[in-house]
């Protein structure tokens, strides 16, 4: 059973945020513990600390990013391509130590036993650790162990730690609502990871930010570096959202321009000072733009050094903000992107000015960027709707080639299988011979399917579909059915023409992707050989028997037994619809005979 996503979100109230903030600061100041826990009757709060020095963030190169551990974070990847997400290496290291060396895991499990809600929190770098811990918990307890456990994560002035694949995965798994990041309007720390490591500021000030012993010059250099680099990232992303016609940016960013891989995820609460207002934004692209644009100096008269210093000190002001203004999360004040743009576009200036000054004061180009974010989102949804058309509805225009749709085509295969039974062949062998009219017709169907699925896969690869597309259950189910019915035909076609190499090296993406979607949805490991393509392995073994090139006879035999066992387990797997799968009895028997 799928865990209801809403039920595992922890809804925050002001009291909880206040406690979390105080505890985060306590953890931050603590000399010893890495985690400070506080147990309330119904909620267990874990506050993380990171006593790391700023240079510590850049252990792995100029931005310090590294691949995630697939074991710990199986969801942090692009599913189809199997492309891993990157997170900050140092933070990952701290988290891994925490998991093995501290009482964190046992405390969590204790809280689960007591059926408590869990809130993870942290200030500054501690917030980064908390975010990572939250993602690990969501994967481990909610997805894997399917525990209905309300989890939340609140951070204060937390730096960015994950790349765009983390952002994509968080959106895809609908985890976004678990994360709330409070950010002071001009706090430099949430932006600092948008810039590479610089020698400018960090040389003298090797201590963490909270006891800033910097003079204005150092602050200015650091601030300038962060802001200019943030601009590169923001304009890079905004450019891509605007349906660009020019490709020089691509050429430049491929080799010549190194910019930060980090992107925001989760909901951001921007707290402004004059007047004290809050702006809640959930769309990660919009957050990125705001991270940059809210940090820009309002005008040329502003003293840069002073502004830079203020930007640094704002990082220390979360407690003050809490005490004066209260860090509250009013769901009714939540600004969704659509509303955001509606605010921006309204002619009624006063209304906006009163509702949010920071927003109103944004520059025209910043507003275009936010508008472009919404438009890009709309385009993705439009593409999704287009696909739904192919997947569900029968289109009856005769001019259009797309008159055959996936399910109709899938339904044809069982009939074909039946007819092949009359010829005393399984459909795989029959198709391979390709002697009858019906074989030819099915071959055309196979190509028609390929036409539809290749487009779908291409759209996924170009990231022109909504993030949650790959976990859309209807698609996963349909893709699985298609894969089980049609992949044997593709294999047969491949070996009919016997192009030399193994099918497994040339397996079409439409089968790779559909298999991985299925494997992710059913929370199982990612495999290469599956119930739909083992026939190709058998074919390769058969070739080895006839003309040995790579394997000895014994090895082939061993491989055969391995396959045979796998087939057995698949056959008894309740989740696999038996009639869809091709079990390859004939070819398996033939191989067995040869090996005997």
């Amino acid at each position: 059973m799928e865990v209801d996503r809403e039920s595992v979100k922890l809804s925050l109230d002001n009291e909880l945020i206040k406690t979390a903030c105080n505890l985060s600061m306590e953890a931050h100041r603590s000399q010893h513990d890495d985690v400070v826990t506080s147990s309330m009757p119904s909620v267990a709060i874990f506050a993380f600390k990171s006593s790391m020095k700023v240079d510590g963030m850049y252990n792995d190169g100029p931005f310090g990013e590294t691949n995630v551990d697939l074991q710990l974070f199986p969801s942090l990847q692009r599913i189809g391509e199997g492309q891993l997400a990157k997170v900050n290496g140092s933070i990952l290291h701290i988290f891994k130590n925490l998991l093995t060396d501290s009482c964190f895991k046992s405390e969590v499990e204790k809280a689960i036993k007591e059926e408590k809600k869990i809130l993870l929190t942290g200030y500054s770098f501690g917030g980064a650790v908390a975010s990572l811990a939250t993602m690990w918990m969501l994967d481990e307890y909610i997805r894997k162990q399917k525990i209905r456990l309300p989890i939340g994560c609140v951070t204060f002035g937390c730096p960015l730690i994950g790349d765009r694949i983390v952002t994509h995965a968080v959106q895809r798994e609908k985890w976004s609502g678990h994360f709330t990041h409070f950010v002071m309007e001009r706090d430099i720390v949430p932006r600092m990871m948008l810039a590479p490591k610089t020698s400018n500021f960090l040389k003298k000030n090797t201590r963490t930010h909270h006891d800033l012993l910097v003079d204005e010059d150092q602050a200015e250099g650091f601030f300038e570096n962060v802001l200019i680099n943030a601009s590169t990232v923001a304009s890079h992303d905004a450019f891509d959202l605007m349906e660009p016609t020019n490709s020089i940016k691509e050429t430049l960013s491929a080799e010549f321009v190194k910019f930060s891989p980090y992107r925001p995820f989760g909901a951001y609460v921007f707290c402004t000072r004059k007047p004290r207002q809050q702006l809640v934004v959930e769309n990660p692209n919009a957050v990125l733009q705001l991270l940059f644009y809210l940090l820009q100096l309002p005008n040329k008269d502003q003293n840069l050094a002073q502004f830079a210093l203020e930007s640094l000190t704002q990082h220390l002001s979360y407690e003050e903000e809490l005490n004066i203004n209260g860090l509250q999360l009013d769901i009714n004040k939540m600004v969704y992107l659509k509303h955001l743009n509606k605010h921006l576009l309204t002619t009624d200036g006063d209304k906006v000015r009163n509702s949010n000054k920071a927003l109103f004061e944004l520059t025209a180009d910043a507003k275009w960027c936010l508008l472009a974010v919404e438009e890009a989102e709309k385009r993705k949804e439009k593409n999704m709707d287009q696909l739904k058309k192919y997947m569900r509805y029968y289109k009856s225009s005769k001019i259009n080639d797309m008159t055959k749709i996936i399910e109709d085509l899938c339904d044809k295969i069982p009939k074909y299988k039946e007819k092949c039974g009359d010829r005393e062949l399984d459909y795989y062998e029959a198709f391979k011979l390709n002697n009858e009219q019906q074989d030819f017709e099915v071959n055309v169907d196979r190509l028609e399917q390929a036409k539809i699925w290749d487009v779908i896969i291409e759209m996924v690869r170009r990231q022109e579909l909504p993030d949650e597309f790959e976990v859309w259950d209807e698609l996963v189910a349909l893709g699985t059915r298609f894969r089980r019915l049609y992949e044997p035909l593709d294999i047969a076609n491949y070996y009919r023409h016997s192009k030399g190499d193994s099918y497994m090296d040339n397996r079409p993406k439409r089968y790779k992707f559909t298999q991985r979607w299925h494997e992710h949805a059913s929370v199982m490991g990612f495999e290469v050989v599956s119930e739909s393509n083992f026939v190709a392995v058998v074919e390769d073994l058969m070739k080895e028997v006839i003309t040995p090139t790579k394997k000895t006879f014994e090895e082939v035999k061993k491989d055969y037994e391995c396959i045979e066992n796998k087939v057995k387990t698949w056959k008894y797997d309740e989740k696999i619809t038996n009639e869809d799968v091709f079990w390859g009895e004939f070819i398996l028997a033939k191989l067995k005979e040869k090996l005997a």
């Binding site: 349906e243 020089i248 050429t251 472009a372």
Partner: protein, 799 residues
């Protein structure tokens, strides 16, 4: 009066257009008065003008009854049509004004017959004064005043008809003037308020969409009925409105447009869901495809605004300039420099003497046919191009060592740069490196990037096209140009044949910057610069301008909401032009170009390629099946050529479609590949060549059959080009690939030589004529020995 006055009309039209472009409501419109001008345009022109009331109302045409020129274009079967208001006058001071085109034509027609044969130029001085004098006197009577006698004859003929027309026009005018626009707008607001309220009240009952779609209770239905009225009204209003806006864009100022667009967006968000509900309730499907036009308001952006911001903040540009500045030399030279990020920069410098010579205007364009040094610039698509002589001379002087240096860095990413005329060297060196990379045929090799600073335009449209044909080449050129650099715009006078390519980043000393990539806009800006820098000829230093551009990132830009109208694309263009202080460019044309580019890009990015590939596979499957099914019946060649039975003909007809489709596809592919060889890596080529060979072997025999069936001879010499090329490439590819195929030991499923049947046909013709063809026998035996003939060809056909 003079016929030249038709010109006045055109000039007025242009002025109107310019005013529209400016989008201001405050600007005063011109008025155009003509005296005795013949009709100038047809019905199309009339309509174009009539659609814009502000335009139409500015035309007044004074026509004298006895002016033969004025009615020259008005014979009864003419296609000329009038527009604007016409005042007809007689020598005695009689006058009458008309403004519906029907009446005007009638009158003119009548005049024509009156003035037949005359052809003098009429003087309007007297007639105008006598018309004025007539004001002083009472008219006789209503009818009497209308004493344009010959006219009246014309009018009485169709008086009724004309009257009706007039009445209709008056009514229409009344309707238009009846404060309708503002009343309507408010009515729509009321309707929208109803809708909003409905939406709100239905919220608790599970959302307005569902409660609308599934309204059952009496109360619910009643409520639904009231809002349906409003829904219809809104739909009608906006449908018309969007249609109008679509036909006549940018008629009103930006502010006005923002107002209605806001309303439109609101309307769309509230009302469209209900239309969807209706649509699906009727059992129809697939709304998105059938979405009414008036909901589709597409927003486009000016992505170059962001590109400019991206470029201003990246390090590579100042790094590149730094590399140039480090060269201390009085002769033209180059140097490799490594940045702190470990990227190599190849920097060029041109000697000051040469620059002086250049600025004296002693170097002009030369055609590409002369200098062989430039043979790395492909001329297959365009036959030739011209390039500035300075570039050729400079490049020649540097010699062959440079080429070696380029090739040494072919596997690393390389920045090639130069300022002023040094940029010419950088451009040519980059082009040569691109060519070398193409030759190497590897996809993994990194492409260089070329950054020039203030280089004048180097080549003509031919060169631009040659580069634009190769997206990977084109996207590697970035030209940074300071507004006050007189050298940069040296080749950009208004009648120049030079054309830009690549991306241009313009910048000003205050840190303003703007990126452009369509050649039209770039030329516009360069020309504006040229006139600004006229007379100057110093060499510009880019150090300061680059740093002030970078510092501008720190501060906020313009935040005026006034700038922010709902057309971000246009606003983006305006913003960019303002940034660099160019005021007199044609924004409208730039916008159109941009829209076209965005649409083209979208079309190019459509998923056609993967669809097409599978489509061709399907067609080939059909062909293969046809071939296979004919095997028992004496081979597909004969049964195709000699199809007689009804069944055979039917089958032939189905595959002919596929045959044609395949032919069309491959002809195009081959042509493209021929023009731009080695675009992709060897592996990719192998894949499509495999498909192409398959195609050639199956389809060409059928083409041969068609050819000989028509009684023609000698196919080999008339063989279509794409077959020839496909075969040539396939042979080349087999030679180059090291894994030569194992010697065949069973018959190929397809005959290797796709011209086999042409040889057969030729041999048959020779035999029929009583000769013998030993050559052919040898040929066939050779094929059989290599197992290259498909088993289906049996000897009996030949003998």
């Amino acid at each position: 009066m003079n016929i030249d006055e038709a010109v006045t009309i055109l000039s007025t039209l242009r002025l109107h257009h310019a005013i529209d472009e400016k989008e201001s409501v405050g600007i005063k419109r011109p008025i155009c008065i003509t005296f005795g001008s013949p009709l100038v345009g047809d019905g199309g022109l009339r309509q174009a003008i009539a659609q814009r009331p502000q335009w139409e109302s500015s035309f007044l045409n004074v026509v004298a009854k006895n002016d033969p020129v004025a009615c020259y274009n008005s014979s009864s079967n003419t296609t000329f049509k009038p527009f604007g208001t016409f005042i007809f006058c007689t020598e005695s001071g009689g006058h009458a004004a008309f403004d519906d085109e029907h009446s005007i034509l009638q009158v003119l027609n009548a005049m024509k017959s009156l003035n037949a044969g005359e052809s003098h130029v009429y003087d309007y001085t007297n007639i105008l004064s006598s018309m004025r004098r007539k004001v002083l006197y009472h008219g006789d009577s209503e009818l009497g005043e209308f004493n344009l006698n010959p006219l009246r004859a014309g009018i009485t003929l169709r008086l009724r008809e004309m009257e009706e027309k007039q009445i209709k026009m008056i009514r229409k005018k009344k309707m238009k003037n009846a404060y309708d626009a503002s009343k309507k707008l408010n009515e729509m607001k009321i309707s929208l308020t109803y809708m909003e309220w409905y939406m709100k009240t239905s919220r608790e009952k599970g959302g307005y969409y569902d409660s609308y779609k599934n309204a059952i209770g009496k109360f619910e239905l009643e409520k639904k009925n009231t809002i349906i009225k409003h829904q219809r009204r809104l739909n009608q209003y906006w449908k018309k409105f969007v249609e109008e806006k679509d036909i006549m864009p940018q008629k009103e100022g930006a502010k006005l447009r923002k107002r209605w667009l806001y309303g439109g967006t609101n309307y769309r968000r509230i009302v469209e869901p209900l239309d969807i509900a209706d649509y699906y309730k009727k059992g129809k499907r697939n709304y998105i495809d059938n979405r009414p036009n008036h909901y589709k308001l597409r927003i486009m952006f000016s992505s170059e605004v962001e590109l400019g911001k991206f470029l201003r903040s990246v390090d590579v540009i100042p790094e590149a300039y730094q590399a140039i500045s480090e060269i201390n030399s009085t002769v033209s030279t180059y140097k490799i420099h490594t940045t702190r990020f470990g990227i190599n920069v190849l920097a060029f410098k041109c000697s000051p003497d040469f620059t002086t010579r250049f600025l004296e205007g002693k170097l002009d364009l030369v055609s590409s046919e002369k200098p062989h040094v430039l043979d790395f610039i492909p001329t297959k698509v365009i036959s030739s191009f011209s390039i500035n002589k300075a570039a050729v001379e400079l490049f020649q002087d540097l010699g062959e060592n440079l080429k070696e240096l380029e090739n040494k860095h072919i596997n690393n990413s390389l920045i090639i740069t130069g300022s002023g005329l040094g940029g010419y060297l950088a451009i040519l060196s980059t082009l040569r490196l691109h060519h070398a990379i193409d030759e190497k045929e590897s996809v993994s090799i990194k492409r260089p990037i070329c950054i020039t600073f203030g280089s004048p335009l180097v080549g003509d449209a031919g060169l631009r096209q040659a580069i634009a044909q190769r997206p990977q080449w084109e996207s590697s050129f970035l030209n940074v140009v300071a507004k006050n650099d007189p050298v940069a715009c040296y080749n950009s006078s208004s009648n120049t044949t030079f054309e830009p390519f690549g991306t241009f980043l313009f910048c000003t000393e205050l840190g303003g910057h703007a990126a452009f990539d369509d050649e039209h806009s770039i030329l516009q800006v360069l020309k504006a610069m040229k006139s600004l820098n006229a007379g100057e000829s110093h060499v510009y230093d880019y150090t300061n301008i680059l740093s002030s551009m970078r510092r501008k990132v720190l501060y906020r830009g313009d935040s005026e909401l006034g700038e922010f109208n709902l057309n971000p694309l246009r606003a983006g263009i305006a913003l960019r032009l303002r940034e660099i202080g160019v005021s007199n460019a044609e924004i409208g044309i730039m916008e159109e170009k941009q829209i076209k580019m965005i649409k083209d890009m979208k079309r190019k990015n459509a998923y056609d390629d993967s669809k097409k590939l599978n489509d061709m596979k399907i067609s080939l499957t059909y062909m293969e099946w046809y071939m296979k099914a004919r095997r028992e019946e004496g081979g597909y060649y004969d049964s195709y050529k000699n199809a007689i039975s009804k069944e055979e003909l039917e089958k032939k007809n189905t595959i002919i479609i596929h045959q044609r489709r395949l032919n069309k596809h491959w002809e195009k592919v081959v042509e493209e590949k021929d023009k731009m060889p080695q675009k992709e890596g060897a592996k990719l080529r192998k894949r499509w060549l495999y498909g192409g060979t398959n195609y050639r072997r199956i389809i060409e025999p059928l083409d041969i059959a068609d050819y000989y069936k028509k009684g023609k001879r000698n196919y080999i010499n008339n063989r279509p080009n794409h077959y020839k090329l496909l075969e040539k490439w396939s042979i080349e590819d087999n030679k180059s690939s090291k894994t030569s195929e194992l010697k065949r030991n069973k018959a190929a499923s397809l005959t290797e030589d796709s011209c086999f049947w042409a040889h057969v046909e030729e041999a048959l013709i020779v035999l029929e004529n009583g000769g013998s063809d030993d050559k052919f026998e040898d040929y066939v035996m050779g094929l059989i020995e290599n197992y290259a003939v498909s088993a289906m060809f049996s000897w009996r056909e030949v003998v």
